[in-house]
């Protein structure tokens, strides 16, 4: 064989080796390397959609978004240089170590940009735009950010937005919620999160070896969440909050005709923006003994006190146990067994109207004993106590009655046996009443004046009062009025009020009593008589073991054809008079602003 041939074969062998290697790379390893190629150059830049706005019934903005500037770093081949962090630190005024830490913490995937700093402010954003020529991997994204214009205004009603927690993420995974999403917590933000929640968009870009964006491959526009109109009237809400300011308690104002909540506030309050910024102040909020995050209007349960007398009165009249003329004599106390049950005043001869007006305990001790606890309990349930109002707010409390389960609410086929089952299930509620063994007349007397085991939320109290204001219908309180999605407005219809089987005469007598409480000089709410609008209502002073009493007022106005029901609760606020003062201030302001 000639040497030239050997060289020839050598070259052929080399070619074969190269072809085999090429085959190995381009066939067998192709997929793997293609992924590397993609990782090299494709970046995803999320573009959050904007959350729907929350508006009041007149279309005034309660919550909206504002543009915020977020600083992102596109991943490079190399780790970002120290020089970059030093520069950013001097521009933003954030410590260099913080930025480094942020970078390490937020880094998730190579193809996702890293969020270095949030909401850096327009002036900083401009400076960083100029830095881009030197550090092309920086970029500023404009993202909508929740803005609570008036700080704590309507905070309990609205709630706040924050990063999704693990529990919610687990619950809502099927609905397209992702980690790091912003979701509503508390209030309407949480309850209607599925409406408000935006659909996030994103941008797929191709970058070159220095991390510069060389072209945009695709853009998915973020979809704005639906705007929602609440039944809240901004003016009423503001009046109520101003009146309540500084006191611990809650105010609920609603329309008795349809259950629309016009104003709902709780105090102490908090600033929802703190949660948007994840401020360290949150911890102190959570540990505050006054529980500023707690919405007292729907989640707080308080002993009903004298406002419960409306129900006892209705029960007495409906069951024909008494009529308008029935009278008892009040000597300032009532003796049951060997215990004295006090009235707050010696009222003398008291009929139902006077009993309500002057809030005579003795009258209701007598009436309560005539009715028996089961009857009172049954009527309390009819008026919506002891169960949630199903209002559209999260974490609503159901309140408490001695016995929350009545046979007439059980489907026919469960009657009998199911009651015993219900007993078992509700041992907490049925503790004494059903077993009768440890339920005494004294308990009935206490029950009849709303003490003891009657716990209600301010919203339940307002709903209860609304029954008398609207002619015997149990309304469905709600906050949502309309949904605006892509420029079409959808009006929301809630279930119709439930007509309670109450006689008109019963309502008339009780309404008279409630009106007398205001207009009679001896009435507990007489202070409200000076207002230019006729108010009817009932005060309550709910005794609590330890601390001063809770102060209640529930009522409605104008007396004829009522359009507003108001419930004021002052936690440990003393006598019902104090609640009347707040009520007066609210109604006064509403008159001044011409709302009524």
């Amino acid at each position: 064989m000639s040497r030239l041939k050997i060289v020839h074969y050598f070259i052929i062998t080399c070619f074969i080796i190269i072809i085999l290697n090429l085959f190995y790379l381009q066939f067998i390893k192709s997929g793997q390397f293609r992924r590397l190629d993609l990782a090299n150059r494709i970046r995803l830049i999320p573009q959050p959609g904007s959350r729907g706005a929350i508006l009041d019934r007149n279309g005034l903005v309660l919550v909206d978004n504002r543009p915020s500037f977020n600083l992102y770093l596109l991943r490079e081949e190399e780790k970002p240089k120290k020089e970059l962090f030093a520069k950013l630190s001097s521009v933003l005024g954030i410590k260099e170590e913080m930025l480094q830490k942020n970078y390490q913490k937020k880094y998730s995937f190579g193809f996702l940009p890293v969020l270095l700093a949030q909401d850096i402010g327009r002036s900083h954003a401009v400076v960083i735009e100029e830095l881009k020529s030197k550090f092309p991997q920086l970029f500023i994204q404009i993202a909508p950010r929740r803005m609570y214009r008036e700080g704590a205004f309507a905070c309990h009603l609205l709630g706040y937005v924050s990063k999704i927690d693990s529990w919610r993420l687990e619950q809502f995974k099927g609905y397209g919620y992702k980690p790091k999403d912003e979701v509503g917590f508390g209030g309407v933000e949480e309850f209607y999160d599925y409406l408000l929640h935006p659909e996030d968009g994103g941008m797929q870009v191709e970058v070159d070896h220095r991390g510069r964006i060389s072209r945009v491959l695709g853009v998915k526009e973020g979809k704005r969440g639906a705007d929602i109109f609440l039944t809240i009237d901004l003016r009423i809400q503001r009046i109520a909050e101003n009146a309540l300011n500084g006191k611990t308690g809650a105010v609920v104002i609603l329309d008795p005709r349809n259950g629309e909540i016009l104003g709902l506030c709780s105090f102490p309050e908090f600033n929802p923006s703190l949660f948007v910024q994840s401020s360290p102040v949150i911890r102190t909020l959570l540990n505050d003994p006054d529980a500023p995050l707690f919405n007292r209007a729907v989640s707080g349960t308080f002993p009903a006190g004298s406002i419960f007398k409306m129900i006892v009165a209705a029960a007495g009249l409906e069951t024909k146990t008494i009529d308008a003329k029935t009278a008892f004599f009040c000597r300032g106390a009532y003796r049951i067994g060997n215990r004295q049950f006090q009235c707050w005043k010696e009222h003398g001869r008291v009929d139902l109207i006077k009993g309500l007006a002057a809030s005579c305990n003795v009258f209701f001790y007598n009436l309560g004993l005539l009715l028996g606890p089961a009857k009172i309990n049954q009527f309390a349930l009819k008026f919506g106590l002891g169960r949630p109002c199903t209002v559209d707010l999260p974490a609503e409390a159901q309140g408490k009655l001695p016995y929350s389960f009545t046979p007439f609410e059980v489907p026919a086929r469960f009657r009998g046996g199911a009651v015993a089952l219900g007993d078992l299930l509700r041992t907490g509620f049925t503790r004494r009443l059903r077993r009768k063994t440890s339920w005494f007349d004294g308990d009935t007397a206490n029950f009849a004046i709303g003490q003891g085991e009657v716990l209600v939320t301010p919203l339940q109290a307002a709903r209860m009062a609304a029954v008398f204001a609207n002619g015997g219908r149990l309304i469905q309180p709600h906050l949502l009025r309309a949904i605006k999605k892509e420029s079409s407005i959808l009006k929301v219809k809630f279930k119709n009020p439930k007509v309670l089987p109450l006689r008109q005469s019963t309502l008339n007598i009780i309404n008279q009593g409630l009106h007398q409480a205001v207009c009679r000089s001896e009435g507990t709410a007489h202070i409200l008589s000076s207002l230019k609008v006729d108010v009817a209502g009932k005060t309550g002073t709910a005794q609590v073991t330890g601390g001063s009493s809770h102060s209640w007022f529930v009522g409605y106005f104008p007396k004829d054809n009522p359009r507003f029901v108001i419930c004021v609760l002052l936690e440990h606020g003393g006598s019902g008079y104090n609640a009347c003062l707040v009520t007066k201030e609210i109604i006064q302001k509403m008159l001044e602003e011409g709302i009524i």
Binding site: I11, C14, I17, Q26, V207, D208
Partner: protein
């Protein structure tokens, strides 16, 4: 025997085909760059190819036998140019390889490859008798050592530039010419053994970056973003081409500048991403055919000088192609060797085409 003139056409067609592929590859690889100079690089390459073709036609008309007479003149000229480069050359990428001449930068080392082939061919065809088995052992040794010294001088000069790749290539070509000449195998074996012994010395004379290249070759992931970067990116480019490739303007690795030197030494990686396995196979086949015709020209040459010259030129092309491809696929360390016909570079293109011109001339003389 078939008409040997056919080689003429085939070799020219293959060369033009390869050069055109190269121009297209350079075009797609650089058109997305920022600077105007980079954007227009394909135009310069076209100009060089045209000049190369003209040189090819001119050289193929001049009898290669003149080269035999010109050998020592060329040799001395080459050495002088190398020395001038050493003294006043243009520094680029940390190496002094370019000589600024009139309006272009000239790379004498590139030309030296061809000159060395001519020189060694001249030597062996002249001392033909010295290789015969009847002569004394001393004569035989002298017949190997003299060309070794002749080669060593430019190799050392080039090595000093530093240009390890070209120096090694020239030496390798010398060994191959030695092999196809009638030098006894034991001399070649002895020489190889000598080089083997010299390797440690060579290692210490290497510059840091050259050592690093060798180390990275052994394990590219040693320094994936630094010295291993190029080889990893070139592998990604080749592999992501798949079977059919990504098309003209989808060779993202080079177009987004992840792959450095995609228009010069790493042009094949860029080509492979565009055209995939299929295209690469076509390219390799073209190269192989060219080499095959070259070897046939050598085989059929009428004199010993022609045989060695044609063989040397073919081996020169073949080695460059093979080393360049192996380098891109990470089979050998990265050495700065261009891919003949395709890589951008004036001197390289000119020298390659002139070499082909000589080859064609030899083929013609065979008739």
């Amino acid at each position: 025997m078939r008409g040997k003139g056919e080689y003429y056409n085939r070799i020219v067609i293959l060369a033009v085909l390869l050069a055109v592929l190269g121009i297209f590859s350079i075009y797609t690889g650089t058109i997305f760059r920022q600077s105007a100079w980079m954007k227009s690089i394909y135009l310069r390459q076209t100009l060089w190819v045209v000049m190369g073709l003209i040189s090819l036609f001119v050289v193929s008309r001049i009898s290669y036998r003149y080269l035999y007479d010109l050998t020592y003149f060329l040799y001395v000229l080459g050495i002088i140019l190398l020395i001038i480069v050493d003294l006043s050359g243009k520094v680029c990428f940390g190496a002094r390889r370019w000589l600024h001449m009139f309006w272009f930068n000239f790379q004498p080392a590139e030309m030296m490859k061809l000159i060395m082939i001519i020189t060694v061919s001249h030597y062996f065809s002249a001392s033909h008798s010295g290789l015969r088995s009847s002569v004394s052992y001393w004569t035989k040794t002298k017949a190997v050592v003299t060309p070794l010294l002749l080669v060593s001088l430019p190799v050392l000069l080039i090595f000093k530039q530093p240009d390890l790749g070209t120096a090694a290539l020239i030496f390798l070509i010398f060994l191959f010419i030695l092999f196809i000449s009638r030098v006894e195998i034991k001399f070649i074996a002895f020489l190889s053994f000598l080089i083997f012994l010299l390797l440690p010395v060579l290692w210490f004379s290497l510059l840091d970056y050259q050592k690093a290249r060798l180390l990275v070759f052994l394990n590219p992931n040693l320094d994936p973003l630094g010295r291993g970067y190029t080889i990893i990116q070139s592998k990604i480019a080749v592999a992501s081409g798949g079977f059919w490739g990504r098309g003209w303007f989808s060779a993202t690795q080079s177009q987004l500048q992840f792959l450095p030197e995609s228009h010069t030494d790493f042009i094949f990686a860029h080509f492979a991403q565009m055209w995939g396995f299929f295209g690469s196979l076509v390219l390799l086949l073209s190269f192989y055919l060219l080499i095959r015709y070259g070897l046939m020209v050598a085989r059929d040459s009428s004199d010993y000088f022609g045989y060695l010259l044609a063989g040397g030129i073919t081996i020169y092309v073949a080695l460059q192609v093979l080393i360049n491809l192996a380098m891109i696929m990470g089979l050998v360390p990265i050495v700065g060797l261009p891919l003949p016909f395709l890589s951008y570079g004036g001197t390289s293109i000119l020298v390659t085409f002139i070499s082909l011109g000589i080859l064609i001339n030899i083929a013609r003389s065979n008739r």
